[in-house]
Subunit: 203 residues, 2 copies
């Protein structure tokens, strides 16, 4: 029987991607599903909808609800929560480093630590010092990683990843995609996505 796979698409600026990133690995393990972290940028996708910032900023009632909802979710998970300022954070640097890191063993840990820094401690994730600090905490030498992340090749890979997200119909984050192309949008759809993936393993 083949190992079932679930792709976890996220933008580091995305609020609901925080609890999703914290939850996804343990839940996938329990479901016998392999999870693939796929960072991308929502900016170009929002721009195509005519939005120049997060819809949570454009529609204040929706934004107010999201912050309160996220606060409740984090409290239920005993997860620290701080609202990033400004919101959304610029996630470009973190996404580039993550993409480089996901070829290595530390990639997923790095992603989770970025979310913890951003939404748990309120750290600015566009600051090289924040990213370097996270890498150091994982016993990774920051300088060569930051250099590799900013290489033309890696920048192009992130653009291609974002284009793939757009082509596959992603419009928000987190989004979970199964091997047979089923899309599940939202932290609250994670369990259903894992069940879908597990039921179709080897199909």
């Amino acid at each position: 029987m083949r190992q079932a796979v679930l792709e976890f698409w996220f933008d580091f600026a995305s609020t609901y991607s925080y609890p999703a990133a914290i939850r996804v690995r343990a839940l996938a393990d329990s479901a016998g599903v392999e999870v693939k972290f796929r960072p991308f940028l929502l900016g170009p996708i929002f721009k195509a909808e005519g939005w120049n910032t997060s819809p949570f900023n454009l529609y204040p009632a929706k934004g107010r609800n999201m912050w309160r909802d996220l606060e409740r979710i984090c409290a239920d998970m005993s997860l620290p929560f701080r609202r990033p300022d400004p919101f959304p954070q610029n996630s470009l640097l973190a996404a580039r480093v993550a993409l480089a890191g996901l070829d290595e063993a530390w990639g997923m840990d790095f992603c989770v630590e970025v979310f913890r820094a951003e939404f748990g401690r309120g750290s600015p994730i566009d600051a090289a010092a924040t990213i370097a600090g996270i890498l150091s905490g994982l016993n990774i030498a920051a300088e060569p990683v930051l250099a590799a992340a900013q290489s033309d090749n890696n920048k192009a890979r992130l653009r291609a990843q974002t284009e793939e997200a757009q082509r596959r119909g992603l419009f928000g984050a987190p989004t979970f995609v199964t091997a047979d192309g089923e899309l599940f949008w939202g932290n609250d759809r994670l369990e259903r996505a894992l069940l879908w993936a597990a039921q179709r393993r080897g199909a």
Copy 2:
């Protein structure tokens, strides 16, 4: 100990209000919470956001995802599903009848049957014949109810109910509101809302 109460705010045109309406009474019973059905109109609220139709029509990627997601939810609940045409349906008549009916014993059953007709069988809920058929199925004489629903007094009550929704920060449906004013938006937040209501009973 006082009975905990949860308000269930919905628009008959709202897609996710369908599974919510089907689920809410049994779940509220199990949680020991009394549920109050509160129909309102999303139209004026969307208009205030600058939208002249459902955001699911305005943002096609989001709309595609919603239909697929709803299809999965209904399949998981063994609930028939048909996409209403046109979408959204005009929910004014159904909301007026519901508001009148919710003073009577048959109000909640009527609401559930409207959702079943609209999203389960694809019936036009703006047609008096559809509404009359639902009332007959509940052994209610349709004519006096339709007349009462269209009275100036009842029309004004629905406007007031919609204004209350707007004033309390509702921006979508379904929305669940607890006695202490906590808002939970979405069918997928129903369980959490009931827990919130139950934990604060008599508070």
